[in-house]
């Protein structure tokens, strides 16, 4: 926990200093969400007919909430982990009692603490622009259910990204693997395409994969689009995948360190 706090503080100060990059993330996401809303506006009927079990307004609301959750859940330490291994920077840390998981978790938490604050500004602006199309109401019960689903979502994405980063111990060019991860996350994760729009067979397979439990599951919980039974199943799957990626990380880290050799230092 002390490692987490120390790196949280350090990264927080760094990100606060170079905050313009954060503003660019915020504005870029804002534009992207507006474009997604336009896509749903021009491709779905305004009459209230259902597309993938959702009305036009629900689809736009989905994109709107997805914007907020993108910074809240999207913890992506891949590039930093990969760069540290490839450039030998990791040597500075493996000789000290600093666990990679806690260190990166602290840094990512700091990054997202600032990012989410900025994202709220964009979120308010989006709420104003899209106010005619939003169809959202959440009671306390829903909000209580959303919190654990968000925490597990973060752990799953963070864990997968950490494991992908560790592949740099064995592979020089991890680009295609990372691209493959993004393809699955973008198509099946639910950040842009709601789960309901997927073909039935894909939906069934997806319900067993980790991607479903990243963005789509908390979004569906927030929009009250799942029953309590589905929610229990989802939380169970989230717990399973969060543990699975953590164990995988531990195994990869132990084996990777044996393989690792640094130049210089």
């Amino acid at each position: 926990m002390r490692i987490f706090r120390a790196f949280f503080r350090m990264r927080f100060l760094l990100v606060a200093e170079y905050r313009m990059a954060m503003v660019i993330w915020m504005v870029g996401g804002f534009v992207s969400t507006l474009i997604a809303a336009v896509l749903w506006l021009i491709s779905t009927p305004a009459s209230g007919d259902l597309i993938g079990g959702m009305t036009q307004h629900q689809l736009i609301t989905y994109a709107w909430l997805s914007y907020l959750l993108a910074q809240l859940i999207g913890w992506y330490p891949f590039y930093d982990v990969q760069r540290e291994i490839q450039e030998g920077l990791i040597s500075n840390y493996i000789i000290k009692p600093l666990g990679l998981w806690a260190r990166r978790l602290g840094e990512e938490a700091a990054h997202h603490a600032i990012a989410v604050l900025l994202q709220l500004v964009g979120f308010v602006a989006l709420s104003f622009i899209l106010r005619e199309y939003l169809d959202f109401s959440a009671d306390v019960g829903i909000l209580i259910r959303v919190v654990p689903s968000l925490i597990f979502s973060i752990l799953i994405i963070f864990g997968i990204q950490m494991c992908l980063g560790l592949i740099a111990f064995w592979v020089t060019d991890t680009g295609p693997l990372y691209a493959l991860f993004w393809i699955f996350l973008s198509l099946l994760g639910g950040e842009w395409i709601p789960n309901g729009l997927l073909p039935d067979i894909v939906k069934t397979i997806n319900s067993l994969m980790p991607f479903r439990y990243t963005f789509g599951f908390p979004l569906d919980t927030l929009l009250n689009r799942i029953t309590m039974t589905e929610w229990y199943w989802g939380i169970g799957m989230q717990l399973f995948w969060a543990l699975a990626v953590f164990i995988l990380f531990k195994i990869m880290w132990a084996h990777g360190l044996k393989k690792y050799s640094a130049v210089g230092g």
Partner: protein, 262 residues
Amino acid sequence: MKRNYRLLLAKINYHLAYFYQYRFSSMVHLLSALLWFALGMGGIAIILGNVSSIGGWTPTEIYILMLVFYLGMAVAHATYYNSLADLTRKIQDGRLDFYLLKPVSVRYWVSIDKITIPQFLRAFIVLALLVGYCIAHQVTISMFGIMLAVLYFWVGQILLYQFFLLLMLAAFWIVNAWNIPWFLDRISDAAELPIDTFDKKLRFFVLYITPMAFIAYVPTQALLNRLDPYLAFLALGLIVIFEIIISTVWKIALRQYSSASS
């Protein structure tokens, strides 16, 4: 002009040699780029699996629009995109000094710095898919339409280059603006949509503020023989306006640039 051409050839030769030297890594990058392309097409295929049209455009027209968009992005990535994206780093670590010292136009030199051969291959693949798709779906295209589409495809590329350079010039003032290319990618999402269905404000944004309409929408309209003459003339006018703005900002930026190293 002749010297610039020779420099371009030298750069291409250098990057071809690099491509052959690190051919496995280069092919891996090509694979990576093709996977991103597959992602975009897969996403739109899922949406089209649920709706019959997007903004009145049939699935065939939408796929043509998407393929033109990906062709445009592949050409941009092959030629100037990675060069301009690297401008932030050049400014941050002072490497821009080495470009300023050369007896060539600095703007030209930083724009062709990183020609990416695998992206050329990606462009050829997407072009082949576009031609194959049009033939397979018996899309009626006239020779004039093809010529106009090719012309406006390159006009769109010039506008995209100008807009991207204008965005990247912010790096002279903003420290750590490494995610500007990501920002461009987000804005360019709009270029994948049929822009004629946008409302007035958004149309203004993608036509006059950002030239996203010209990357894929205008060439596709030309290809399908329904190009609005207003857009055709607007594109040419925008090139002139963007050029004036960039020249002015570029001069101001270089004047206040102070080296970070050396």
